[in-house]
């Protein structure tokens, strides 16, 4: 029985090549997309789970009472204090991560450094190739390096026992262990992990800030630790309103959004969105399969009727159809696995994380993929099987086409669902892209094009001026500036103070410490007063040095003389009528206003421009360098910059980047979402059209006679095309309009995360409708035309 059914299935597949192809293409595309998305989601959800103690490791976050902003850069000594006060804590470490130059045997490498403490490997699991976790980092000035770094820096011979020198550390470090590179799904990575000493005494008045992690004892809960925190705030003189919370290690990647994450994090919202997209695509693919199978069963009614009168039970028939659909699904599964294998590196490129099949290949992923396919195979096969086997033999023997208008209605609902989903994805894609375009085109108030910046803060010393002068001799270089402004990350400093009158109000200010050339280099517009200039003795006077010499009480009175420039937001915040020459003395904001600049936005456009003041450092020796170019030959100019750089700073690697590209990184999540939407909108609309193609295909087979008769009666080609299109167009129209409110709400929600955003217009909605309609008409008409052009005699002969 099974054999003959299998045989029938194969013969059916062979005879109906067109529909088989449609079914398979739809299935493979849909399942591949769903599997890829699931693979990606599982990757995102697997972050830090490889750590043996993952469930017991927490990162300490401080929460600011006023704005609930979380911070992970906390005063050193905090963990020690907590361990001594809270018995549930077993261990803890302090840690900071940064890129630094590593010198080994006269070669320098730029590597990710983790500066941490001796118990690092008790909290974070690593696989030791040489050395072992229990002794590594137990002695001072020891380091553990990654396998890839060891291979790079010590191509011959073992790295163990060798030393390396870091730029920012005085003593060399002895390598005591080599570990396998930390998995990609980890929120921290380090090629060189060094043991360092941190101040162990908690002092909120003056501190170095580091990330801190604690390990809970077994069978204790974070809540019980949380309860014991409150009394400590007073005892250890925490700043007003600051509280602590414990962030589970495995939540960091998706739930933590502080300003100083070690690496760019994901976002749980995108996990939800992508899961929904995966589900939609999967449903669309299944719907396609169901629709096509039910449609195909019109042709097989006879077979079913005969089998019934020969004594086939419903169960047997259901099983037959179910196994037929599994045949498709298993074939599709094999294809999906092959395609997925090839697609995963591409996916990695798309999401910006170079994952390959071996990073995600596990029994679990294969089982989940198989599960998806088997469950969807069951749903896709069971429904048609049920419908088909339920029909009375007489209906099927007569050819039940005319007896199932209701079924066709249901299939139209399924089709409407497909087009609704497609329209939703198209609308989202269009709006996400116009917002991204808006962001990249929006004038930020400073030049971001043709500006090179250094990726990390460097110490240039007094050589900077000579470097700058030499660069400026080249015509392609307009200006060079050094400041503490790290675009998109922070302005360098901030201060807040309580309003004198309204004590509930807090003023929040950002500061940029700039040199004389900053305003010119970035082309910031001065709207009132003047920019900093070497022409003014009052500008170049070193106030900080002078203030350091006078007694502390007079410090402020000296600093009040220092020139500052405000932005417009700051003028509004302080409500200054005539800002120029006003002396300001609020918290960290001390100085005499010499100019006002137009608001410029150096941070993410998610947020509003903050009130800001520019303070002057006349002889800067470290910070981020900005080089404004004026050239058409970018590579030649870069070569010049590199050459001059090497001459002046032979010890510093030039890690120059274009400012516009650097700022784009701020929207990595959004861009990723945009491209995911675009791909899957494409797949959704493609699948919908494939499904539609199948429906039209069967519709035409059923209506060959009708078309022939109408033609004989004098219907024109246009009449017939309209007739064939009509029903489908209505369905697509309704499907689109229904989804509009949903799309509006969703996209509105997303746009609201931006302070600077496009206003929603009806255009994307109408455009999505247009795309859907156009593709519908094309899909229907191209097929219908062939049928209509046939001689009516041919069609009628068969009857």
């Amino acid at each position: 029985m099974f054999k003959i059914n299998l045989l029938i299935a194969f013969r059916n597949i062979w005879r109906n090549k067109v529909t088989t192809a449609i079914k398979m293409i739809g299935l493979i595309a849909g399942l591949t997309s769903a599997v890829l998305l699931v693979v990606y989601l599982m990757f995102e959800l697997s972050y830090d789970k490889h750590n043996k103690n993952a469930a017991r490791v927490y990162r300490i976050h401080s929460v600011n009472g006023a704005d609930l902003k979380e911070n992970i850069k906390l005063p050193s000594g905090l963990t020690d204090m907590m361990i001594s006060e809270i018995p549930e804590l077993e261990n803890g470490i302090q840690l900071s991560g940064y890129k630094d130059q590593v010198k080994v045997n006269e070669e320098t490498y730029k590597e990710q450094i983790l500066r941490t403490e001796t118990s690092f490997f008790d909290l974070f699991t690593a696989t030791f190739i040489k050395g072992n976790a229990s002794v590594a980092l137990k002695e001072p000035f020891t380091a553990v390096v990654s396998e890839s770094f060891a291979a790079k820096a010590f191509p011959k011979g073992s790295a163990i026992g060798q030393t390396l020198q870091l730029k920012w550390e005085d003593s060399p470090f002895r390598i005591v262990g080599i570990i396998k590179d930390l998995p990609k799904a980890a929120h921290l990575h380090g090629d060189v992990i060094i043991r360092s000493s941190f101040s162990r005494k908690l002092n909120w008045k003056g501190y170095t800030s580091v990330s801190q992690y604690v390990l809970l004892k077994e069978n204790t809960s974070a809540e019980s630790v949380g309860k014991k925190l409150a009394p400590l705030y007073k005892k250890y003189e925490f700043p007003k309103g600051v509280t602590l919370k414990l962030m589970p290690l495995t939540d960091i990647h998706l739930h933590s959004h502080t300003d100083s994450e070690l690496e760019p994090n994901g976002d749980i919202r995108y996990i939800y969105i992508f899961s929904a997209v995966a589900l939609f695509i999967l449903i669309i693919a299944i719907v396609n399969f169901v629709n096509l199978t039910v449609a195909a069963s019109l042709k097989r009614g006879k077979e079913i009727g005969i089998k019934k009168v020969m004594g086939a039970s419903r169960k047997q028939l259901t099983l037959q159809f179910l196994s037929e659909s599994y045949l498709y699904f298993i074939a599709a599964f094999l294809m999906v696995m092959i395609i997925t294998n090839d697609m995963i590196p591409l996916l990695g490129l798309q999401i910006g994380i170079p994952i390959s099949i071996k990073d995600i290949l596990s029994a679990k992923t294969v089982l989940i993929s198989l599960g998806i396919i088997m469950v969807s195979g069951f749903i896709a096969g069971f429904y048609p099987a049920l419908i088909i086997s339920r029909l009375m033999p007489v209906q099927t023997l007569k050819g039940y086409g005319n007896s199932t208008p209701g079924k066709f209605g249901f299939r139209k609902i399924l089709m409407a669902f497909q087009f609704s989903s497609s329209a939703l994805l198209i609308i989202c894609t269009l709006i996400v892209y116009s917002q991204l375009k808006y962001i990249s085109n929006k004038s930020l108030g400073f030049d971001k094009d043709q500006v090179l910046i250094t990726e990390s803060v460097n110490e240039y010393g007094q050589k900077f001026n000579a470097f700058r002068s030499e660069l400026l001799t080249h015509r392609a270089i307009k200006d060079v500036s050094l400041s503490h402004f790290n675009p998109g990350v922070n302005y360098g400093g901030s201060s807040s103070w309580t309003d004198d009158v309204d004590t509930a109000k807090q003023h929040q200010f950002d500061f940029i410490s700039v040199d004389l050339n900053f305003i010119n280099t970035l082309n910031v517009q001065v709207v009132k007063g003047r920019a900093f200039s070497a022409k003014y003795g009052t500008d170049v006077f070193n106030y900080t040095e002078a203030a350091d010499k006078v007694p502390y009480e007079e410090y402020k009175s000296v600093m009040k003389q220092s020139p500052i420039i405000l932005n417009e937001a700051a003028v509004a915040e302080l409500n200054l009528k005539n800002p120029i020459d006003t002396m300001l003395s609020y918290g960290g904001l001390q100085g005499k206003v010499i100019g006002v600049v137009k608001d410029f936005n150096g941070m993410s456009l998610h947020n509003k421009v903050t009130p800001m003041s520019l303070t002057l450092t006349t002889n800067p020796d470290f910070g981020y360098m900005f080089i404004k170019l004026h050239t058409t030959d970018m590579s030649a100019t870069r070569a010049i910059v590199n050459e001059v750089w090497k001459k002046h700073f032979p010890d510093i690697q030039p890690d120059l980047k274009f400012l516009d590209q650097h700022l784009e990184q701020l929207y990595a999540n959004e861009m990723r979402m945009g491209s995911v939407f675009m791909y899957f909108a494409g797949i959704a609309i493609f699948l919908s059209c494939v499904g539609l193609f199948g429906m039209v295909y069967y519709d035409l087979q059923q209506r060959t006679k009708e078309i022939a008769v109408r033609k004989i009666l004098g219907a024109s080609v246009n009449n017939l095309l309209t007739l064939m299109n009509n029903g489908f167009i209505k369905t697509v129209l309704v499907a689109n309009v229904i989804i509009w409110p949903v799309a509006y709400l969703l996209i509105r929600n997303w746009l609201d995360t931006f302070y600077y955003r496009i206003s929603l217009s009806y255009l994307p909605f109408v455009l999505a409708l247009g795309i859907c309609l156009l593709l519908t008409i094309l899909t229907v008409s191209l097929q219908a035309l062939k049928a209509i052009k046939k001689s009516p005699v041919e069609a009628l002969k068969y009857e």
Binding site: M1, I4, K302, K308, G311, L397
Partner: protein, 225 residues
């Protein structure tokens, strides 16, 4: 074997009942060869469908081998199909995706006949109908008469006690039709299989032992030959 009592079949549309069958009562015994005749729309096919349990009467009593068919469960009905009833259709209704041999074998699969038994019965049928050479052909590769022979072979393979045939020769030339009728007569006489056929042809009806004349859903005449 078959007892129909007051069988009615009508379709109600917009409150108007249009009757297909009215007050049909008859008894057909084991071993009879009955032809149902009558003009188009008289309800011949509907009556045969009801006898074959392909359709349900709107009203009335129907006993098949002393079992009340109206209240029969799906499972029981399938049992009857498997063991007692063979169908032959005007349009042959072979399964296009199956070869001749597979078509003949199909009912045996549902009857759960063992593999070797199936093989021998199929071989037997092919032999009997002179179609050994055509056993691997698909229905579309056969002429109408040959297809109908396969249809009958298929019906016989399950060794039914009754064959229900809806205009079995309607699509055939007279020479082929004659061959089919001879076959029916032989099956009836030699194997004692009850046969009920719907036909337009007086010639075909003459092969049987009894004719039911149907007119507007009512049995007008019941002639025994």
């Amino acid at each position: 074997m078959i007892a129909l009592k007051d069988i009615e079949k009508y379709y109600a549309s917009k409150g108007v009942k249009s009757y297909i069958l009215r007050h049909v009562s008859t008894v057909i015994n084991q071993g009879e060869f009955v032809s149902i005749m009558g003009p188009s729309g008289a309800g011949k096919s509907t009556l045969l469908n009801i006898i074959g349990m392909l359709e349900e009467p709107t009203y009335g009593e129907y006993k098949f081998m002393d079992e009340d068919v109206i209240s029969l469960s799906e499972r029981k009905r399938i049992e009857l199909y498997r063991n007692h009833i063979g169908f032959v259709f005007q349009a042959y209704h072979l399964i296009d995706e199956m070869t001749v041999a597979e078509n003949i074998e199909a009912p045996l699969l549902y009857k759960k006949v063992g593999g070797s038994e199936r093989k021998s019965r199929v071989a037997d049928m092919l032999d009997r109908f002179n179609m050994v050479g055509k056993k691997d052909l698909f229905p579309s590769q056969l002429s109408g008469g040959q297809q109908q022979l396969v249809g009958i072979a298929r019906a016989l393979a399950a060794q039914p006690s009754i064959i229900l045939a809806d205009e079995p020769t309607g699509n055939l030339q007279s020479a082929q039709a004659l061959q089919i009728m001879e076959l029916f007569k032989k099956l009836n006489k030699e194997d004692g299989i009850t046969i009920i056929q719907v036909t337009h042809s007086e010639v075909n009806a003459a092969y049987g032992s009894r004719i039911l004349h149907l007119l507007d859903g009512v049995i007008k005449e019941d002639v025994r030959l």
